[in-house]
Symmetry: C2
Subunit: 265 residues, 2 copies
DNA sequence: CACGCTTGTTCAATCCACTGAACAACCACC
DNA sequence: GGTGGTTGTTCAGTGGATTGAACAAGCGTG
């Protein structure tokens, strides 16, 4: 569609990084992941990333040999090995396994759509999804990303950060992404919500990303020191959403969060 | 903690590949994925891959900057971006989306555990899993791999290949992996099964990978020319497995395979 | 505390991967 | 068919990434 005329530099910024070939290879993977069709030619990549064709060719050959990408005629696309590696990452998160078990036997949550997510730069990334009633099927998938300000999990994880980090990510004049009329518009609004979230211990997203849909989220206490902070959320239809139901969900979410935070559940 | 004393060379074989840094970076990712704990130090990697420490350090810095790996003190582990990339790969497979939809409304399959897989080297890799009754929870996850000879999908996909390819992968004196007393032992057995599978159009795995568990699998016709061939499988407990039920499952699996093979379902 | 054995980081010299231009093949449009 | 725009591949020169040795810092052990 809209031609992505953004010759982003292959390397981050000034980026006098060692092993530039690796940085560029990563940029190739990114470009392929973001390409609408998922398929790009050598010239496409060379142009978009600003890498000479001959170098690009070398990169692609190496990436193909590693099965990180696949060649199909003249088009390159992401390779299967990435699924393996992503799965390897997830399998190391014990939280994901326990997450599923808990959802299944939770009185209220077992019928809902629950997700576990984590901060990834200035977005959140969904790591796992439990679907109680297939009636409300979410379009979002494992691995998908969402801006922090547009999701309940995003806001609740943001509230976990230190104020100066928040300030750095959202200076007063930032322009927030908008998806519905109810999306937060200003950094001020966002910070007000963060304050409220810190008090009440959970976050609510009220049709801010999708009309007709609401979300509740709680943070998972970071056990010990290591590991990035996780968040949990339930998604429901606004039409069938009641105060008492919300209270129940938050209660169970907090239980789940607690048991995930304390390995010896 | 059996020390993995296998200093596999960072590069494939003779591997006079261009962009060696990329090849080595991929080797680092592999090593991290295969490490039992998922965490390795710089020295571990340097030793295991046979890359000088200083070079390894450079690689790791570049990989970390690309968020393909994460540093945690002195330990390195796989990074979140791999989940993104893996998800991006899967989201491009329209088959996966349709797979879920079909399973939900299929009379018999909707209650079973169904998976879609693809050949990946000499293994199969599971791409998606539908779980009808959480009673029988599989240990295998999306992205997991299985030897071809040990799974119904593996055998059915093998049967799709040309004989000379099969011969190349399974010469008469290969030693097949064994997981249960019923696992196939010889290439001859495997080839006999392949012949049978080609006749009947589906594959059966009878406690060959896990005692008490059986699997049925059918191939997805490769639509057009592009794309590697996919396979579908149902998993059931041997105890509750009947002939008539099997017939129903195979029938529905074939319907699903057909609709996946012909985009315009 | 000194010792041996780790660990990761620094730095200058060398070697090799990167580059740019020239190449060949292809397609689409007059 | 000619022609201008592609595409991806080839190759020799050169600049920078790679490297090994030397360094500093941590950790048990006797």
């Amino acid at each position: 569609m809209a031609d992505s005329r953004t010759p982003r530099s292959a390397d981050g910024l000034g980026s006098s990084s060692p092993a530039p070939a690796v940085t560029r290879a990563a940029a190739v993977l990114d470009a392929l992941a973001e390409a609408p069709s998922g398929r790009l030619t050598l010239s496409d990549l060379s142009r978009e990333l600003g890498i000479p064709k001959s170098s690009t060719s070398n990169l692609l050959m190496a990436l193909e040999e590693a099965r990180l990408i696949t060649r199909e005629g003249a088009d390159f696309s992401l390779g299967r090995k990435l699924v393996e590696l992503g799965a390897a990452y997830l399998s190391r998160l014990d939280e994901v396994q326990e997450f599923y078990k808990f959802c299944e036997q939770a009185p209220t949550l077992s019928g809902e759509t629950v997700r576990i997510a984590m901060i990834d730069g200035d977005h959140i990334i969904y790591l796992a999804r439990y679907e109680g009633h297939p009636a409300v099927r979410l379009t979002s998938n494992i691995g998908d990303k969402m801006p922090l300000s547009l999701s309940a999990v995003g806001k609740v994880l943001l509230a976990q950060l230190h104020d100066h980090d928040i300030e750095a990510m959202f200076p007063d004049d930032v322009e927030l992404p908008v998806m519905t009329p109810k999306s937060l518009r200003s950094a001020a609004e966002l910070k007000a919500q963060v304050a409220a979230i810190r008090k009440q211990g959970y976050a609510l997203e009220d049709e801010e990303s999708t009309l007709g849909v609401v979300c509740l989220a709680v943070p998972v206490p970071t056990h010990g020191a290591h590991g990035p902070s996780l968040g949990l959320s339930v998604t429901a239809l606004k039409a069938t959403f009641s105060e008492e139901q919300a209270a129940l969900m938050v209660k169970e979410l907090k239980e789940l969060a607690h048991s995930l935070g304390n390995p010896m559940g």
